[in-house]
Symmetry: C2
Subunit: 201 residues, 2 copies
């Protein structure tokens, strides 16, 4: 693979590539087996190196796990940043804005299912990062409330938790990008307008 066309990373040395393979293999094993059941022997077999090679790059099983989690955190943080509601939309397009945010988050979470499984569903730190996500969402909701687009009789934090619950669940189901768009559309519609029949549909 001569994917050498990177500006910032001129040439990944052999060790770096091995390390990357190990990390990916670790992510998969941790995702499928969980931390305790995952075996170093399986990780190195998947990466096609032998056992002590693992310890050339990671101090311990725990260290590798922590690094997988960190990778996920970083990606999710970036996604949260991208998902910020663009404020320059028309006032009547809240639906579009919410849909954009939900789509961005769903796509980011679905982009690497191993990281998702470890970082969002089995790590001790999962609640922590969800709290971070929750805060961001709540802040956005509060802003919309202040702007008069959202009703104010519902706590932003509560809404944020609902949205996270929904996203958690949707992210887990394998789906194509277009299916995810569809899901995002439904989610936005449900959260904005509810399931009750609309007075003037």
């Amino acid at each position: 693979m001569a994917a050498r066309t990177k500006s910032s990373e001129p040439k990944p040395t052999k060790g770096e590539r091995t390390r990357a393979r190990l990390l990916q293999a670790a992510a998969r094993e941790f995702a499928q087996q969980g931390f305790d059941a995952a075996r170093i022997s399986d990780i190195v077999a998947r990466a096609e190196v032998s056992q002590p090679a693992f310890y050339l790059y990671f101090g311990s099983k725990e260290a590798a796990y922590a690094e997988v989690i960190n990778q996920f955190r970083t990606r999710l943080r970036n996604a949260i940043r991208s998902a910020r509601l663009p404020k320059d939309l028309e006032k009547d397009q809240i639906a579009d804005r919410v849909r954009w945010s939900v789509t961005t988050l769903l796509d980011a979470l679905a982009s690497d299912r191993d990281l998702l499984e470890v970082g969002f569903y089995q790590a001790l730190a999962a609640e922590e990062i969800k709290a971070e996500l929750s805060e961001q969402i709540a802040a956005n909701v509060a802003a919309e409330q202040a702007d008069g687009f959202f009703r104010t009789d519902m706590p932003p934090a509560f809404f944020a938790n609902c949205l996270i619950g929904i996203i958690e669940r949707m992210a887990r189901s394998k789906s194509t990008p277009s299916e995810r768009q569809q899901q995002a559309r439904f989610i936005a519609e449900l959260l904005l307008n509810g399931l009750r029949v609309q007075p003037h549909s």
Copy 2:
């Protein structure tokens, strides 16, 4: 084994009480540590018996885990049955009916946090039982759609998954019964009417 499990359980024999203590201890350890990290030695210490006593009542660690999961499944099934929307309410009281269902489910899930943790969040069988729950909810939603109370442009299964995601998340946060009632109220309100400012509050 003396099949003493009759109508009102006249006297639990010593063995039965030990077994119950072990099962409860196992539920706690499994909930807090996960299956692999949970140690038989910790379980028996918590139950205040010694190691081989465990194997008098459970064939293996796996067997005990399976029994914990089964306990949860049974309880949740009962809760689902109780949560069926009572059909004899007025047509204008959908909110009450949804609230009732949500409250019932939340209460049932919160009634034993160890079982909840194992059966809903860490068991391989968790997705299975959530699918069961999802079907029930979807069926209810479909009925409401047929009766003209819910909009029909949203798939019942999708709505069911959203609700489960929300309930999953809410159930995890420790809360008093009255807080749960409040949560249920918000959930019903959000899912029925949405977050957008209402045309005529």
